[in-house]
């Protein structure tokens, strides 16, 4: 595949980089990333991946754009309120970069559909806002041997880690089980500073891009935390993959996917 003049110019700042070059840009154009959740994290991640020329990007979300989303979900505009988030996201990404094929899945991930959703993708981005989905994505990626980026944001804080099969602990190694109901507020109840999605979602896009190109060190075996009020980033080294882990351990006890009970939240 030869670059067109337009592609040469569009990706010039990538091509100039020694670590990317022509080969790396071709890897991006051939890359397939699935983003689960077109919200605070998924919006910036999807936009940076589209801009970077990741050739196939899937987006999974059943929701419609709500006015209260727009403070942080920058892929959607005011005119998109009421529209399916996946449709609104696809329109933005297509407008940004015609090189990108955007596949939309207007559904929430469940134990029934997730294996099928992730199977054709090289890298998964967890941009969800709830623990049942986060554990489901982890378990499915472990079972399907897919690398993924976990992230969470709340108030002025964010965190992320990357799982690559065989190269470090999974999310369940670190966090075991979803917290009890009402132990942790959701971001609807607790609030979140809008730019936090931009910081952490962009870091997720960065991990996907590095994984596709095959350069640098990923956040495998590490948890990165960001405290915006203190303006502090920390990278915490995680214990090695836990051989006793219920899903990625030597003798897994979780061999089927679990749909944990979704904590219902009043209001929107």
């Amino acid at each position: 595949m030869a670059f067109t003049n337009e592609q040469m110019e569009r990706y010039s700042r990538h091509i100039i980089l020694q670590e990317v070059g022509v080969k790396g840009q071709k890897k991006l154009l051939n890359g397939k990333v699935l983003i689960i959740g077109a919200g605070g994290l998924g919006a910036p991640a999807a936009m940076y991946l589209a801009a970077a020329g990741v050739g196939t990007i899937g987006i999974v979300d059943a929701d419609e754009v709500d006015l209260s989303n727009l403070q942080r979900q920058i892929i959607h505009g005011t005119a998109d309120v009421g529209k399916a988030k996946v449709k609104s996201a696809k329109e933005t990404m297509n407008a940004m970069n015609p090189d990108v094929t955007v596949n939309t899945y207007r559904e929430f991930v469940t134990s029934e559909n997730i294996m099928d959703l992730i199977k054709d993708y090289d890298f998964i981005i967890d941009g969800t806002d709830n623990f049942p989905a986060k554990f489901l994505i982890n378990d499915a990626c472990v079972m399907a041997k897919k690398p993924f980026s976990h992230a969470g944001i709340i108030r002025f804080k964010g965190q992320l880690m990357t799982y690559v099969p065989g190269e470090g602990p999974c999310y369940r190694c670190v966090f075991k089980n979803p917290p009890p109901k009402d132990a942790v507020p959701t971001c609807k109840q607790a609030g979140v500073i809008g730019a936090m999605g931009g910081v952490i979602g962009s870091l997720q896009a960065m991990e996907a891009i590095k994984y596709l190109i095959g350069v640098g060190d990923l956040l495998t075996g590490k948890l990165l935390t960001f405290d915006a009020l203190k303006m502090e980033f920390h990278t915490v080294k995680l214990p090695k993959a836990n051989g006793g882990c219920a899903v990625c351990g030597d003798h897994p006890t979780i061999t089927e996917l679990i749909d944990y009970e979704q904590i219902e939240c009043d209001g929107k």
Binding site: M8, E9, S12, I16, Q18, G21
Partner: protein, 81 residues
């Protein structure tokens, strides 16, 4: 008279920095290690920057030929894939 044989040529006189090096680098990508690329460029900025950028990427600069018409031919041997 030349002590090298040119495998491929690219003309970057129709673009400006940073597209000069981008276009030359994309052309270089098509070559095998050991092959030689001739890059025709305008005097000035490209002559300053393109040879340096190729050197930084581990390629070997063989010669810079003044075409005496305001352009130069940079002869580069591909060492790094």
């Amino acid at each position: 008279m030349a002590d090298f044989e040119i495998d491929e040529r690219v003309d970057i006189t129709d673009v400006v920095c940073p597209m000069t090096f981008v276009k030359a680098k994309v052309a270089m990508e098509e070559l095998e290690v050991g092959q030689i690329l001739a890059v025709t460029m305008n005097d000035g900025e490209p002559v300053q920057n393109v040879p340096r950028s190729f050197k930084e990427e581990g390629q070997q600069i063989l010669k810079l030929i003044d075409n005496e018409n305001g352009t130069y031919d940079l002869i580069v041997k591909k060492l790094e894939d």
